[in-house]
Amino acid sequence: MNVELPLIAFVLASALATAVLRDVLGAIIAFATYSLGIAVVWVVLQAPDVALTEAAVGAGVTTVLFLLTIAKTVRPSGDRVLERPHWPALAVAVLFVGVLATTLGALPEIGAADTTVITSEVTEYYLANAYEEAGVKNAVTAVLAAYRGFDTLGEVVVVYSAGVGLLVVLGKEVFA
Protein backbone atom coordinates (compact mmCIF):
# COMPACT_ATOMS: atom_id res chain seq x y z
CA MET A 1 0.00 0.00 0.00
CA ASN A 2 1.25 3.41 -0.97
CA VAL A 3 1.92 5.47 2.15
CA GLU A 4 2.60 8.74 0.33
CA LEU A 5 -0.85 10.16 -0.28
CA PRO A 6 -2.37 9.40 3.16
CA LEU A 7 0.75 10.89 4.74
CA ILE A 8 0.56 14.07 2.67
CA ALA A 9 -3.16 14.31 3.48
CA PHE A 10 -2.39 13.93 7.20
CA VAL A 11 0.30 16.63 7.11
CA LEU A 12 -1.90 19.07 5.18
CA ALA A 13 -4.86 18.36 7.47
CA SER A 14 -2.84 19.04 10.62
CA ALA A 15 -1.44 22.24 9.05
CA LEU A 16 -5.02 23.33 8.30
CA ALA A 17 -6.08 22.46 11.85
CA THR A 18 -3.23 24.63 13.12
CA ALA A 19 -4.48 27.46 10.93
CA VAL A 20 -8.17 27.37 11.91
CA LEU A 21 -8.05 26.52 15.63
CA ARG A 22 -8.73 29.67 17.64
CA ASP A 23 -7.30 28.47 20.94
CA VAL A 24 -3.54 28.97 20.80
CA LEU A 25 -2.91 25.90 22.96
CA GLY A 26 -4.92 23.83 20.47
CA ALA A 27 -2.95 25.33 17.60
CA ILE A 28 0.34 24.46 19.34
CA ILE A 29 -0.76 20.85 19.83
CA ALA A 30 -1.89 20.64 16.20
CA PHE A 31 1.47 22.09 15.17
CA ALA A 32 3.32 19.41 17.19
CA THR A 33 1.25 16.76 15.36
CA TYR A 34 2.13 18.44 12.10
CA SER A 35 5.87 18.39 12.94
CA LEU A 36 5.71 14.71 13.76
CA GLY A 37 3.89 14.02 10.47
CA ILE A 38 6.58 15.96 8.59
CA ALA A 39 9.26 13.91 10.41
CA VAL A 40 7.62 10.75 9.02
CA VAL A 41 7.65 12.35 5.55
CA TRP A 42 11.43 12.81 5.89
CA VAL A 43 11.78 9.10 6.71
CA VAL A 44 9.71 8.17 3.64
CA LEU A 45 11.90 10.46 1.51
CA GLN A 46 15.04 8.65 2.83
CA ALA A 47 16.31 11.53 4.96
CA PRO A 48 16.74 9.92 8.41
CA ASP A 49 19.08 12.64 9.73
CA VAL A 50 16.57 15.36 8.94
CA ALA A 51 13.78 13.22 10.43
CA LEU A 52 15.66 12.86 13.74
CA THR A 53 16.36 16.59 13.90
CA GLU A 54 12.77 17.45 13.01
CA ALA A 55 11.32 15.08 15.64
CA ALA A 56 13.69 16.32 18.36
CA VAL A 57 13.85 20.00 17.49
CA GLY A 58 10.67 20.70 15.51
CA ALA A 59 8.22 18.57 17.45
CA GLY A 60 10.17 18.72 20.74
CA VAL A 61 12.05 21.96 21.47
CA THR A 62 9.80 24.27 19.41
CA THR A 63 6.67 22.92 21.10
CA VAL A 64 8.24 23.43 24.54
CA LEU A 65 9.18 27.02 23.59
CA PHE A 66 5.60 27.72 22.47
CA LEU A 67 4.17 26.18 25.64
CA LEU A 68 6.56 28.22 27.83
CA THR A 69 5.44 31.36 25.99
CA ILE A 70 1.74 30.81 26.57
CA ALA A 71 2.46 29.79 30.18
CA LYS A 72 4.07 33.23 30.64
CA THR A 73 1.38 35.12 28.71
CA VAL A 74 -2.32 34.51 27.93
CA ARG A 75 -4.57 32.40 25.74
CA PRO A 76 -7.48 34.07 23.99
CA SER A 77 -10.70 33.24 25.81
CA GLY A 78 -14.13 32.72 24.27
CA ASP A 79 -16.48 30.01 23.16
CA ARG A 80 -15.69 29.80 19.48
CA VAL A 81 -13.52 26.82 18.56
CA LEU A 82 -12.56 27.94 15.06
CA GLU A 83 -11.14 31.21 13.83
CA ARG A 84 -13.36 33.30 11.57
CA PRO A 85 -12.02 33.23 7.98
CA HIS A 86 -9.96 36.28 7.06
CA TRP A 87 -10.86 36.86 3.41
CA PRO A 88 -8.03 39.22 2.30
CA ALA A 89 -5.43 36.84 3.79
CA LEU A 90 -7.15 33.90 2.08
CA ALA A 91 -7.05 35.77 -1.24
CA VAL A 92 -3.33 36.49 -0.83
CA ALA A 93 -2.60 32.86 0.11
CA VAL A 94 -4.64 31.42 -2.80
CA LEU A 95 -2.97 33.82 -5.23
CA PHE A 96 0.45 32.86 -3.87
CA VAL A 97 -0.23 29.13 -4.22
CA GLY A 98 -1.66 29.74 -7.69
CA VAL A 99 1.49 31.53 -8.84
CA LEU A 100 3.69 28.80 -7.35
CA ALA A 101 1.57 26.06 -8.93
CA THR A 102 2.24 27.46 -12.42
CA THR A 103 5.87 26.31 -11.97
CA LEU A 104 4.75 22.73 -11.28
CA GLY A 105 5.03 21.65 -14.92
CA ALA A 106 8.61 22.94 -15.13
CA LEU A 107 9.74 20.94 -12.10
CA PRO A 108 11.29 17.49 -12.60
CA GLU A 109 9.42 14.38 -11.53
CA ILE A 110 10.05 13.49 -7.88
CA GLY A 111 12.36 10.47 -7.60
CA ALA A 112 13.40 10.48 -11.27
CA ALA A 113 17.01 9.45 -11.92
CA ASP A 114 17.77 12.36 -14.27
CA THR A 115 16.95 15.32 -12.01
CA THR A 116 19.53 18.08 -11.66
CA VAL A 117 20.10 17.35 -7.97
CA ILE A 118 20.73 13.63 -8.42
CA THR A 119 22.98 13.93 -11.48
CA SER A 120 24.86 16.95 -10.11
CA GLU A 121 28.64 16.63 -9.84
CA VAL A 122 28.48 17.74 -6.21
CA THR A 123 26.17 14.88 -5.23
CA GLU A 124 28.33 12.33 -7.06
CA TYR A 125 31.53 13.74 -5.56
CA TYR A 126 30.21 13.64 -2.00
CA LEU A 127 28.89 10.10 -2.32
CA ALA A 128 32.10 8.84 -3.94
CA ASN A 129 34.64 10.56 -1.68
CA ALA A 130 32.96 11.23 1.67
CA TYR A 131 34.36 8.15 3.38
CA GLU A 132 37.90 8.43 2.00
CA GLU A 133 38.27 12.14 2.65
CA ALA A 134 36.27 12.66 5.84
CA GLY A 135 36.37 9.17 7.37
CA VAL A 136 32.63 9.14 8.09
CA LYS A 137 30.26 6.57 6.62
CA ASN A 138 27.29 8.91 6.88
CA ALA A 139 27.58 11.29 3.91
CA VAL A 140 25.30 13.86 5.59
CA THR A 141 27.62 14.09 8.61
CA ALA A 142 30.65 14.29 6.33
CA VAL A 143 29.19 17.21 4.37
CA LEU A 144 27.89 18.93 7.51
CA ALA A 145 31.09 18.74 9.54
CA ALA A 146 33.81 18.58 6.90
CA TYR A 147 32.94 19.85 3.41
CA ARG A 148 30.57 22.55 4.60
CA GLY A 149 32.14 23.05 8.04
CA PHE A 150 32.14 26.85 7.73
CA ASP A 151 28.41 26.74 7.02
CA THR A 152 27.92 24.84 10.26
CA LEU A 153 30.17 27.36 12.05
CA GLY A 154 27.86 30.09 10.71
CA GLU A 155 24.88 28.14 12.08
CA VAL A 156 26.52 28.02 15.51
CA VAL A 157 27.10 31.79 15.33
CA VAL A 158 23.37 32.25 14.54
CA VAL A 159 22.37 30.11 17.54
CA TYR A 160 24.80 32.04 19.77
CA SER A 161 23.44 35.40 18.57
CA ALA A 162 19.90 34.14 19.15
CA GLY A 163 20.85 33.24 22.73
CA VAL A 164 22.42 36.66 23.32
CA GLY A 165 19.43 38.34 21.64
CA LEU A 166 17.01 36.46 23.90
CA LEU A 167 18.91 37.53 27.02
CA VAL A 168 18.88 41.15 25.84
CA VAL A 169 15.17 41.12 24.96
CA LEU A 170 14.09 39.46 28.19
CA GLY A 171 16.36 41.60 30.37
CA LYS A 172 16.68 39.96 33.75
CA GLU A 173 13.90 37.50 33.10
CA VAL A 174 14.86 33.87 32.64
CA PHE A 175 13.13 31.96 29.83
CA ALA A 176 12.01 28.97 31.89
Binding site: A19, A101, I110, A112, V117, L127
Partner: protein, 118 residues
Protein backbone atom coordinates in the same frame (compact mmCIF):
# COMPACT_ATOMS: atom_id res chain seq x y z
CA UNK B 1 -2.84 16.75 -15.58
CA UNK B 2 -3.48 13.95 -13.07
CA UNK B 3 -0.12 12.46 -14.05
CA UNK B 4 1.57 15.82 -13.50
CA UNK B 5 0.09 16.05 -10.00
CA UNK B 6 0.78 12.41 -9.10
CA UNK B 7 4.47 12.60 -9.97
CA UNK B 8 4.95 15.97 -8.24
CA UNK B 9 2.75 15.43 -5.19
CA UNK B 10 5.36 16.56 -2.65
CA UNK B 11 6.02 19.79 -4.55
CA UNK B 12 2.30 20.51 -4.60
CA UNK B 13 2.09 19.74 -0.86
CA UNK B 14 5.04 22.08 -0.31
CA UNK B 15 3.24 24.90 -2.19
CA UNK B 16 0.05 24.29 -0.19
CA UNK B 17 2.02 24.45 3.07
CA UNK B 18 3.56 27.75 1.94
CA UNK B 19 0.00 28.96 1.30
CA UNK B 20 -1.22 27.85 4.74
CA UNK B 21 1.81 29.51 6.36
CA UNK B 22 1.18 32.78 4.50
CA UNK B 23 -2.49 32.71 5.48
CA UNK B 24 -1.73 32.16 9.18
CA UNK B 25 0.94 34.87 9.23
CA UNK B 26 -1.48 37.44 7.76
CA UNK B 27 -4.78 36.32 9.28
CA UNK B 28 -3.82 35.42 12.85
CA UNK B 29 -4.33 38.28 15.29
CA UNK B 30 -2.41 36.52 18.04
CA UNK B 31 1.36 36.91 17.82
CA UNK B 32 2.10 33.33 18.96
CA UNK B 33 -0.02 32.04 16.08
CA UNK B 34 1.83 34.25 13.63
CA UNK B 35 5.08 32.56 14.72
CA UNK B 36 3.44 29.14 14.27
CA UNK B 37 2.50 30.27 10.74
CA UNK B 38 6.12 31.19 10.09
CA UNK B 39 7.17 27.70 11.18
CA UNK B 40 4.66 26.09 8.79
CA UNK B 41 6.00 28.28 5.97
CA UNK B 42 9.54 27.11 6.78
CA UNK B 43 8.66 23.42 6.70
CA UNK B 44 7.02 24.00 3.31
CA UNK B 45 10.40 25.11 1.96
CA UNK B 46 12.12 22.16 3.68
CA UNK B 47 9.70 19.76 1.96
CA UNK B 48 10.62 21.26 -1.41
CA UNK B 49 14.35 20.66 -0.81
CA UNK B 50 14.05 17.13 0.58
CA UNK B 51 11.69 16.13 -2.24
CA UNK B 52 14.25 17.46 -4.75
CA UNK B 53 16.94 15.25 -3.18
CA UNK B 54 14.80 12.10 -3.46
CA UNK B 55 15.61 9.27 -5.85
CA UNK B 56 13.07 6.47 -6.31
CA UNK B 57 14.31 3.20 -4.80
CA UNK B 58 17.49 4.72 -3.37
CA UNK B 59 18.89 4.27 0.13
CA UNK B 60 19.59 7.07 2.62
CA UNK B 61 23.00 8.74 2.09
CA UNK B 62 24.71 6.36 4.51
CA UNK B 63 27.63 4.69 2.79
CA UNK B 64 27.35 1.39 4.66
CA UNK B 65 24.17 0.81 2.64
CA UNK B 66 24.22 -0.19 -1.01
CA UNK B 67 23.83 2.49 -3.68
CA UNK B 68 22.17 4.30 -5.24
CA UNK B 69 21.86 6.93 -2.53
CA UNK B 70 19.71 10.04 -2.34
CA UNK B 71 21.62 13.33 -2.51
CA UNK B 72 23.12 14.35 0.86
CA UNK B 73 23.54 18.07 0.11
CA UNK B 74 19.89 19.23 0.43
CA UNK B 75 19.65 17.21 3.66
CA UNK B 76 22.61 19.14 5.10
CA UNK B 77 21.16 22.50 4.05
CA UNK B 78 17.84 21.63 5.68
CA UNK B 79 19.49 20.40 8.90
CA UNK B 80 21.14 23.82 9.16
CA UNK B 81 17.87 25.56 8.29
CA UNK B 82 15.92 23.64 10.98
CA UNK B 83 18.35 24.77 13.69
CA UNK B 84 18.36 28.37 12.43
CA UNK B 85 14.54 28.22 12.36
CA UNK B 86 14.43 27.22 16.02
CA UNK B 87 16.80 30.08 16.91
CA UNK B 88 14.50 32.47 15.03
CA UNK B 89 11.42 31.08 16.79
CA UNK B 90 13.10 31.43 20.19
CA UNK B 91 13.96 35.11 19.61
CA UNK B 92 10.47 35.84 18.25
CA UNK B 93 8.84 34.19 21.29
CA UNK B 94 11.20 36.09 23.63
CA UNK B 95 10.01 39.33 22.03
CA UNK B 96 6.39 38.20 22.44
CA UNK B 97 6.95 37.55 26.16
CA UNK B 98 8.49 41.03 26.42
CA UNK B 99 5.61 42.67 24.49
CA UNK B 100 3.16 41.03 26.87
CA UNK B 101 5.14 42.24 29.90
CA UNK B 102 5.16 45.83 28.55
CA UNK B 103 1.66 46.14 27.06
CA UNK B 104 -0.33 43.28 28.55
CA UNK B 105 -1.67 42.06 25.21
CA UNK B 106 -0.80 39.57 22.49
CA UNK B 107 -3.21 40.68 19.77
CA UNK B 108 -2.27 42.98 16.93
CA UNK B 109 -5.25 45.37 17.09
CA UNK B 110 -5.16 45.76 20.87
CA UNK B 111 -1.43 46.46 20.78
CA UNK B 112 -1.97 49.17 18.16
CA UNK B 113 -4.73 50.74 20.30
CA UNK B 114 -2.58 50.64 23.43
CA UNK B 115 0.36 52.21 21.62
CA UNK B 116 -1.80 54.93 20.01
CA UNK B 117 -3.40 55.71 23.36
CA UNK B 118 -0.07 56.50 24.97
Amino acid sequence: MIDLLATRDYYLASFLLLGVGTYVMIAARNFVKKVIGMNIFQTGIFLFFIAAAYLEGANPPVLTMDGPHVSPLPHVLILTAIVVGVALTAVALGMIVRIYAEYGTLTEDTLEEVRNGE
